[in-house]
């Protein structure tokens, strides 16, 4: 029952504390929460649960750092060469790191029936999916974006390019989380879905990779990276409008 609370060191009282979202509050017809309030509750709940399992939070970041380490070892320690490869390394690392975290997006909620409760709550499942995806981005996309400049520095990228890299990864990872939410929802209930999940989401993520790597490359060259950044923003807006709909449809199908 309490398989979420992996951290044994926590006092028992904290473990037994009511799970932050009270489905009854959302669903009771008498005190029906607005969609916005429901989004906020789900968001806070996901963040709180994630912070109770900190080791899981760090995994994508450690993975990202590890991938970055592989390239100098495999190719060459020359900074001049690494600088050329830096956009690709940073983006492939961010893409894989974000993919790695996707498995956790719905798995626990599907296991313990929370997703079913969401679907039955009478709230728009689309809005709740948006909240979950937003939480996922705050927990993986944003940390990866903060980590990207570090990885870039280790590859010999000049300091002037770092804000651009941070911005590009931050905007691009929104779309990655959104696409990932569709893939994670579709593969719900499939055992050992890891490889399938990457086969579903990676082809759809290619535009983000292309524009993101281009923005990073331009930032490193000291040129204006506004054009690819705007395209990344456009992809994020398109994803924000459509992806939660698809994810909600996929979750409903998995519950049928």
């Amino acid at each position: 029952m309490n398989h979420r609370e992996g951290n044994v060191a926590q006092p028992l009282a904290a473990l037994d504390a009511p799970v932050p979202v009270d489905i009854a509050t959302i669903a009771t017809p008498r005190r029906e929460a607005s969609a916005l309030a429901a989004v906020r509750l789900v968001l806070l709940r996901d963040l709180r649960l994630a912070f109770r399992k900190r080791s899981q939070l760090v995994q994508p970041l450690a993975f990202f750092a590890m991938v970055t380490l592989l390239f100098p070892l495999a190719i060459s320690p020359e900074l001049a060469r690494l600088r050329e490869l830096a956009p690709g390394v940073v983006w492939v690392g961010a893409l894989l790191g974000s993919l790695l975290a996707l498995e956790f997006l719905f798995r626990d909620d599907a296991h313990d029936g929370t997703l079913e409760q969401y679907a039955l709550s009478g709230q728009s499942l689309t809005a709740l999916m948006f909240a979950k995806t937003l939480a996922h981005w705050l927990l993986t996309g944003l940390p990866l974006a903060l980590m990207a400049p570090l990885a870039a520095v280790s590859l010999g990228v000049p300091a002037a390019a770092l804000p651009g890299i941070l911005l590009a990864v931050a905007v691009g990872s929104v779309t990655l989380s959104l696409i990932g939410s569709i893939g994670a929802a579709l593969t719900l209930g499939i055992k050992r879905s890891g490889a399938l999940l990457s086969l579903l989401t990676l082809p759809l993520s290619l535009p983000v990779l292309i524009f993101g790597a281009r923005a990073t490359q331009l930032a490193i060259q000291g040129a204006s990276f506004l054009a690819p950044l705007e395209l990344l923003g456009a992809l994020a807006v398109l994803g924000l409008t459509l992806a939660p709909l698809a994810a909600a449809a996929a979750v409903r199908i998995s519950l049928e």
């Binding site: 569709i182 579709l186 879905s193 086969l199 082809p203 395209l231 698809a246 199908i253 998995s254």
Partner: protein, 245 residues
């Protein structure tokens, strides 16, 4: 307007017999068109002044590439119909499309690579159209993988339908982002309105091949659809009446 013909499409036995009856009407014209197109393209058409005889692979490559996209759109449309109106037969159509589309995509990739060896000096060039074709192959494989991964057939239908619809929204985005990324390929030279750059002796066989491949797709689809319907309805009693061994 009388819609009974449309409503009858929701009935598996009707679809099964209809598909069986229609198949020869598409298969034979497809064979004729492809035979005529191949003869026209490989024998009658003059060699290209730059590419010599190497250009002749276009008679297989271009129709395959064209079909790879068209099958995807057909699959996504069928999937959307199945998703919206909960029509089982539409899901069966989508399921039958996927392997055909993946095969056409694979054929387009292989012929593209074979053409690239003498023309570009390499089998694989990271050219935008080849790259988007490769991505399309992965989209098909993902669709087939998802369908195979879910055990419950109805859930598999609906989940893969969502994926197909998501994919069809993404195909143009992927295509244009890849084009923007890199452009080496020669500009499209077939469908120029007004003045096609190809002489008629080259163009007519190509159009015949396009028509032939489209008809071939329909014939294959109808055949696969029959198998799909049989597999799905294997417990139904009508099968004993329709299928006589």
């Amino acid at each position: 307007m009388n819609w009974t013909w449309f409503h009858r499409l929701a009935s598996p036995p009707h679809v099964y017999t209809l598909a069986a009856r229609l198949t020869p009407w598409f298969a034979w014209p497809a064979a004729l068109c492809i035979a005529a197109g191949l003869w026209g393209g490989l024998v009658l058409a003059p060699p290209d002044y730059q590419q010599g005889d190497g250009f002749r692979i276009i008679y297989v490559h271009a129709p395959s590439a064209w079909m790879s996209l068209m099958v995807y759109v057909t699959m996504a449309s069928a999937a959307a119909i199945g998703l919206i109106w909960r029509m089982k037969v539409a899901h069966a159509v989508a399921a039958s499309c996927a392997p055909i589309g993946a095969s056409f995509t694979f054929a387009a990739l292989v012929t593209g690579a074979l053409w690239g060896q003498p023309m570009w000096g390499t089998y694989w060039e990271w050219d935008p159209r080849l790259t988007s074709e490769l991505v399309l192959l992965f989209l098909y494989l993902g669709y087939i993988g998802l369908r195979a991964g879910i055990e419950d057939p109805q859930r598999a239908d609906r989940a893969s339908a969502v994926l197909a619809v998501v994919g069809v929204v993404n195909v143009p985005i992927i295509h244009y982002s890849v084009t923007w990324w890199n452009s080496l390929h020669q500009a499209p030279s077939v469908m120029r309105l007004g003045k096609p750059q190809m002489p008629a002796a080259m163009l007519v066989p190509l159009l015949l091949m396009l028509l032939g491949f489209t008809l071939l797709f329909i014939a294959l689809l109808l055949t696969r659809l029959r198998g799909e319907v049989l597999a799905r309805e294997r417990a139904a009693s009508w099968i004993r009446e329709v299928v006589r061994t």
